[in-house]
């Protein structure tokens, strides 16, 4: 028996050694040199990777776009940055980080998606360089950590999606109905209140399962803000925040992260969930669809880049220099009601000036209309670019990071 075991192990080791010996050189030979090439189009710098040499129209030299909105991207030294936080912003960071690193390879950027709560907390405690959050800082957070900045990076919005087998229409919902669903007062999809708003839709007799985020979430923040604005009962009992005390109802599920919400809803017939727009492809791919929401003017709008930027435009003038403003449920005609700035939470006082410069460089690149704000990145997650005035304001905040 022992001999058998020994010989088997020897054979296994030999085989795996052979496999490794064969596979590694094989994978190495398939690597031809990859070059990063740039192209300037409509004052936007496009980046692409090619094998060997650049295609026609692209060049290896990084072009300088005409400066817009008072922003210029600094060149950093060698640094290693960590970002974590909002799961809504995470897909965009995963697009931004490799693009930024192809221009500035000396900076390595690690992204994470642990929820806006962690983003804020870790940025406050200094364990992470950049925290991402869909929610701005609260006054108590600012009191306990006065050096924190919330810097708008992009405009995103949130959809309310559902999984009703057989219903592919975009149901009309308003804040009161959603609030009653989450409070357990409306328990079935064929409830008269929902049917009244959606006369042409055949709503089945299906129990509603209300999904909420169990982690500290900026999505919860803006969702609960929408409910607070729409429903006075919700406002007095539950209010808003990155964590709230959810009403205890029988058909509720807690999920982790936007990803958890999407997959959880896909697995649960009759579910309703609030999910960031960057997950639209996954939502539609799983056979779910999203709702039209009633905005402050009584109109029902679909979540699209156009409606979101309409809503945001109504708040641009009001946005203060520190970026703290809620854009939820504004009285903007044609605007989608659940819209928010995506914030980078950064501590003004960094441990080293190299780190500070790298952070500034990354954020400046992100808010620059020629780089991070261009549609080749934001379009992939359906975000809207920041208006020029906000870019200037964010740039001023970024300059405070030392």
């Amino acid at each position: 028996m022992k001999n058998l075991l020994r010989s088997l192990t020897a054979i296994a080791l030999a085989t795996s050694g052979l496999l490794v010996a064969v596979a590694l050189p094989a994978s190495a030979t398939t690597k031809t040199k990859i070059v990063t090439c740039f192209r300037l189009e409509k004052n936007v710098v496009h980046t692409a990777k090619f094998h060997g040499s650049c295609r026609a129209g692209w060049s290896k030299k990084r072009p300088k776009p005409a400066p817009v909105a008072d922003d210029s991207v600094e060149t950093p030294g060698t640094a290693s940055l960590t970002e974590t936080g909002s799961t809504l912003l995470y897909p965009l960071w995963n697009i931004w980080a490799p693009a930024y690193q192809s221009e500035f390879p000396q900076v390595s950027v690690t992204t994470g998606s642990t929820g806006s709560g962690t983003g804020i907390a870790d940025a406050a405690s200094g364990t992470v360089n950049i925290g991402s959050s869909d929610a701005y800082l609260s006054s108590t957070q600012l009191t306990s950590t006065p050096n924190l900045l919330n810097i708008p990076l992009a405009i995103s919005y949130q959809m309310i999606e559902y999984n009703i087998p057989g219903v592919t229409a975009h149901l009309k919902l308003n804040g009161t109905i959603v609030s009653q669903i989450y409070q357990g007062q409306i328990t079935n999809w064929n409830d008269s209140a929902i049917a009244a708003l959606n006369p042409g839709v055949n709503l089945p007799n299906l129990k509603i399962v209300a999904l909420h985020r169990s982690d500290g979430s900026g999505d919860t923040f803006i969702f609960s803000q929408y409910l607070t604005d729409s429903d006075p009962t919700w406002s007095s009992k539950y209010s808003y925040g990155t964590t709230i005390s959810w009403p205890t109802i029988s058909n509720a599920l807690g999920e982790n992260g936007n990803g958890g919400m999407v997959s959880g809803c896909a697995a649960t017939a009759g579910c309703i969930a609030y999910v960031g727009i960057s997950y639209l492809t996954s939502v539609l791919g799983d056979g779910q669809t999203y709702a039209q929401l009633e905005n402050g003017n009584g109109q029902y709008e679909l979540p699209t880049p156009a409606t979101a930027s309409a809503e945001a435009a109504g708040f641009t003038a009001k946005t203060p220099a520190n970026g703290t403003i809620s854009m939820v449920d504004g009285k903007v005609s044609g605007g989608y009601p659940i819209v928010n700035y995506e914030y980078a939470i950064v501590n003004k006082a960094q441990s080293s000036s190299t780190t500070a410069k790298a952070i500034r460089s990354l954020l400046e690149w992100a808010i620059d209309p020629s780089y991070g704000q261009s549609s080749q990145y934001l379009g992939q997650v359906r975000f809207d670019p920041l208006p020029v005035k906000i870019v200037t304001q964010s740039y001023k905040q970024i300059k405070e990071i030392q």
């Binding site: 290693s80 960590t82 897909p91 992204t111 364990t127 999407v262 997959s263 791919g285």
Partner: protein, 296 residues
């Protein structure tokens, strides 16, 4: 054994109980082996169809990429825990089994120490992780890094090593110790040359099982090691380190398929790692057992 016809119990209730007992013990075995095989097969089935060997040699990029940072990070953490927790745990086990002054009543001493070590064994890993975060990462300003992770994991895993070392040492027949004493060996020398050598299989098995537990931990590492896309460096503090369980925990329900596959790949690599640890422990035991007459 005395010559016996297969003892046929005389009364029906006893026969029924006997049949029940035999059947149930085999059924129990199936209830253990079945889900374990299912578990491993499930991970393999999820991971293998989308497996690429580049997962082993690239770091995470965007939503997909590889796990090289996590694999190397896990190995580094393993070695660190082996050094720290291994030495502390084995010495603690030796203390409990051999060197503790026994009570006058003849019972072994050191109940307080032993109880507190056992209490530590049942401690929720998230609480340890959080205390490590509060006291080491934030309190001492080490940030997410290797040393807080090692310290927290060692605290978690030492009781298991101590307990298995103690039981392995207790299994060594007293004859060996008496023989060593009769030959005039000092206690420490006897320990090293005789007792520990015969208890080595048990000790090593305990070490490797404890390592496997440490490697499979997620919660304490989430709050002490952080995460990074880059390969492990030599710095013990201020530099986060990657580990495989992070990807399993974070990415398993991501709607983007590439990220989900990363999670399953990490699970597969973890299982292979654990299997390698345990198989090599078993082989080691067989090798040392060749020359030592043990109770097995």
């Amino acid at each position: 054994m005395a010559t016996m016809i297969d003892g046929y119990p005389s009364t029906r209730p006893r026969r029924v109980r006997e049949f029940f007992f035999k059947g149930m013990s085999l059924a129990a075995l199936i209830f253990v082996v079945g889900p374990s095989v299912w578990l491993i097969a499930d991970v393999v089935v999820r991971a293998v169809p989308h497996w690429q060997w580049s997962v082993l040699t690239t770091t995470p990029v965007g939503v997909g990429g590889g796990l090289e940072n996590a694999i190397l990070g896990t190995l580094v953490i393993m070695v660190g825990v082996l050094i720290i927790a291994g030495s502390i745990g084995v010495l603690t086990g030796i203390h409990f089994a051999e060197l503790q002054r026994p009570r006058r009543s003849g019972k072994a001493g050191g109940n307080f120490l032993r109880t507190s070590t056992e209490v530590l064994a049942g401690f929720p890993s998230i609480v340890l992780g959080y205390v490590g975060y509060v006291a080491l990462c934030v309190g001492l300003h080490w940030g997410f890094s290797l040393l807080p992770a090692l310290i927290v994991l060692s605290i978690m895993v030492t009781p298991y090593i101590a307990k298995s070392t103690e039981s392995a040492l207790r299994q060594v027949p007293t004859n060996y110790r008496e023989g060593a004493e009769a030959l005039g060996m000092a206690t420490g020398y006897a320990l090293r040359k005789v007792v520990i050598k015969s208890a080595l299989p048990g000790i090593v098995t305990g070490l490797l099982i404890a390592l496997a537990i440490a490697v499979g931990e997620t919660a304490p590492l989430l709050y002490t090691a952080g995460i990074t896309n880059s390969l492990p460096t030599t710095s013990l503090i201020h530099q986060p380190i990657a580990y495989l369980t992070y990807y399993v925990w974070t990415d398993y329900n991501q709607p983007i398929k590439a990220t989900q596959y990363l999670s399953f790949d990490a699970a597969l690599i973890l299982i292979v790692l654990v299997l390698v640890l345990l198989v090599s422990s078993r082989l080691l035991v067989n090798r040392t057992q060749r020359y030592v007459e043990g109770p097995r």
